[in-house]
């Protein structure tokens, strides 16, 4: 394939991944504007690093890794990126107007925002982004077993939260603060 064709194929990959890239970024930081900034920066960085992408490998996992690395890089400089604001998140993630859904979406959003970031990220990657455990582990730079453990703990915490155990919220928030203090 000549360079012009390469560029066209790569651009098509970038366009195709934008919706899910924005979604993943939203799940990571919980803020619409910051998420779009992250996604755009990821596109630029992906283009700059396109030589490192191997056609045929998982493009989504590759660019998610770029976005995630950028997120944590700027999080170290600006703590606002690391701290998901549950109230803001509730206004950021759009709740579908499906009143028949068993869960209250606002509660789900709030509970998601209270999870420690590593658990939230693993849960989002596996549950909403269609990644395999292996690809999620690649994105997060950890073992497959760690991903499974984080997803399991995230589910358990969300279940407790959604069951009405408001007392769980402070514990979840404490976990979030602990993670933020490390970032």
């Amino acid at each position: 394939m000549n360079p012009a064709d390469d560029s066209r194929v790569f651009r098509a990959e970038l366009v195709a991944v934008i919706p899910s890239l924005r979604s993943f970024a939203r799940g990571l930081c919980g803020n619409r504007d910051l998420a779009d900034d992250l996604a755009q920066e990821a596109l630029v960085k992906a283009w700059a690093a396109r030589d490192s992408y191997r056609p045929g490998t998982n493009f989504k996992a590759w660019i998610y890794t770029i976005l995630r690395n950028h997120f944590y890089s700027i999080s170290r400089r600006a703590s606002r990126f690391a701290a998901w604001d549950p109230d803001l998140a509730a206004r950021t993630l759009v709740s579908p107007a499906d009143q028949g859904t068993a869960l209250h979406m606002a509660d789900l959003e709030r509970g998601l925002g209270l999870l420690p970031i590593d658990q939230r990220e693993a849960l989002v990657l596996i549950t909403t982004q269609g990644l395999s455990y292996e690809d999620a582990a690649s994105v997060m730079g950890c073992a497959v077993g760690t991903i499974k453990s984080r997803v399991s703990r995230a589910r358990a915490a969300l279940t407790r939260f959604l069951d009405g155990a408001d007392a769980v919220a402070p514990a979840l928030a404490a976990g979030q603060r602990e993670v933020d203090s490390v970032s």
């Binding site: 390469d6 899910s20 549950t127």
Partner: protein
């Protein structure tokens, strides 16, 4: 690519999928396409084969 994570129909998974699908279903903001246009312009100026280290000619 690895094994796909087991898809379950539990309420939490369903709720999260709806939440995030609603984001993915949003129209792509114009600035994203403008950004890609800029990238295209740069690509036209400096084409390089994907998958090859910078400065290395493709041999296939």
């Amino acid at each position: 690519m690895g094994r796909k994570a087991k898809r379950t129909a539990d309420p939490i998974s369903q709720g999260l999928q709806k939440l995030f699908q609603s984001v993915a279903d949003e129209a792509i903001p114009e600035e994203f396409m403008a950004l890609l246009d800029q990238i295209d312009a740069k690509a036209a100026e400096n084409p390089a084969p994907i998958g090859s280290p910078p400065g290395v000619e493709e041999t296939e």
